[in-house]
């Protein structure tokens, strides 16, 4: 599926998007931690640090590592704190 980084995750990953193969959110995060070591501090096992959050297709925010992902899903990884 397609992964898009925003805010601090984008800065740390050094790219705005990447394609990843995964069946669950947990698998996706594990793969991202391996591909982008700079994200390591923010991915603990198969979960995001509370300061990051994931959105599925820009519609719902998800945190359960067992969340099923489809081939055509679009996952956004962003800073959780929206304070201005």
């Amino acid at each position: 599926m397609h992964v898009e980084f925003l805010a601090v995750p984008r800065r740390l990953a050094g790219t705005s998007q990447v394609e990843v193969q995964a069946e669950t959110l947990g698998q996706l995060l594990t793969a991202l931690a391996a591909q982008f070591p700079s994200l390591g501090e923010f991915i603990v096992l198969d979960r995001l640090h509370p300061s990051f959050i994931a959105s599925l297709n820009g519609e719902q925010f998800v945190s359960d590592p067992q969340t099923a992902l489809g081939e055509h899903d679009h996952v956004l990884i962003l800073s959780a704190d929206a304070g201005g």
Binding site: A7, V8, H49, Q60, D64, D81, G84
Partner: protein, 575 residues
Amino acid sequence: MPFGYHGSYLRIDLSSGAAGSVPLSDSVLRQYIGGSGLGVKLLLDEGTAQLDPLAPAAPLIFAFSPLVGSPLTTSAKFAVVSKSPLSERINDSLASSGFAIAGKGCGCDAIVIVGRAPEFSVLVIDETGVRLESAAEFRGATCGATEAGIKARLGAHYRVASIGPAGENNVRYSTISHDGRHAGRGGSGAVLGAKNIKAIAISGTRRTRWAYPAELTALSKSLSKKSFGPATAKYRELGTATNLLTFNRFGALPTRNFQSGTFEEAVNLSPEQLGAVRSKTRKSCMACTIGCEHIYSNGESNVRVEYESLFALGSLCGVGDADAVLRASQRCDELGMDTISTGGTIAFAMECVERGWLDEPWLTFGSSEALLRAIEWIGAREGLGNLLAEGSRRAALAIGHNSISIAPQVKGLEIPGYEPRALQTMALGFAVGARGADHNRSGAYEVDFSDKVDRRHVTLDAVRLAIETEDKAALMDSLIICKFLRGVFEDFHAETAEMLHYVTGWDITADELRETAQRIVAAKRQFNVLAGWTPTEDTLPERFLNTPLSSDPEAVLSRHRLDDLVTEYHRQRGW
């Protein structure tokens, strides 16, 4: 008297010249802590809720906190509390840095100012007492020039809070500025200006003792260490400006007076783009380890960039020219005007022009020149600026055509950069906010950016969560600690209770702090009720109700749903 406090406040009557210390009981301090809470309590005690906020007798209160002067990171803060000339409801604005430490160093926990100085003056408070000095040479000066000029006159150790030309001209959303930051929302600058005071200069070195200094020092070190970690990375790495592209991606970036939730030129204003062509530095408030201020240089001047300024003066006005938006933000800082209300009021006027309700053809969405001209005119109350200086609600009532339905405000306070239809828990937070639509008094957007709700279809379950963020904000604003720290706490109430215990010696619990937060929120509402609040004020403008967001058809908030949320909010509050 508990540790951490002086146990009194300084009351100054500018009309009579009288100044004296008034005792504060342990009970009041424990019930309201400091900052916003203590300020609201003192304002209620003054019994002036029905007065015109610009009348001489209307109080303006600077409230410090037990944590000020401690080694706790971000604790150098003060609250400015008054009745708002913009909303005619409660207003509590916060600012940071040395003024808080020097103010508390004068030997008081708050300063209550009433009356009106006979001449245009600087109010000086130092070890020799309280006095007025002429401010004639600073008439019309910017906030920064005033601060520098007064320090040159009195000494560099004085800390200065000042108003710009906008405050002198009673612009209803003018600020009080200190060290480049502002007690920004609600028009406290106009209240100070109405008292014929250009600035307050303070010097004081009196310290309070802490109950458990060794434990407090250890806790402070631990908190500082956490403040360098991932929970504050956003503020440190990119600053609040990084919200811009995120909100745009989620269709929540208010654009062209809330006609859309996406802005096609958003990338121009993003910190990534700003930083690509400009040099950038970071700055911290005094006693802060986060360093959230990102300052960009265009070679001629330095501009502090925040998300709210970029949104309000950028996408909300349809302006994607980064240089113009930075210049606009800088001019608001210099003139002493709240960028959110400035941008909101100008964007509202632009739409009125677009609809043919206002005959000012130069004032069009996307025009950098119009934006900058309007800011100058507002600060000087020239031409159309005299109307726009009143804020969007009063301007709408003057313009007619039911333009109040598109005025982007709640209780008169312009809405910050969170599209309510796309973030509906925040919509509730805006609707019920005691000082009007405000993201600093309700953090309900946190709920929308979580897996706890469906942000475009919220249910009554969101109400409790919205209340929790409002209570937490009230507590942080009274302790006072910076909201950018909130992510570092694993158990916020238990950890802040420990913090307060080490400073004051109080055997205080997390549950007591939860009750304190509710008491402070209730006190704000009590002030509003005394000032004439009615339940019909707890709503959003017609634009946001029933009509889908043009950029996202799923983002629609029915009047019925908002009414249900507000009713449930009142029920859970026991109001």
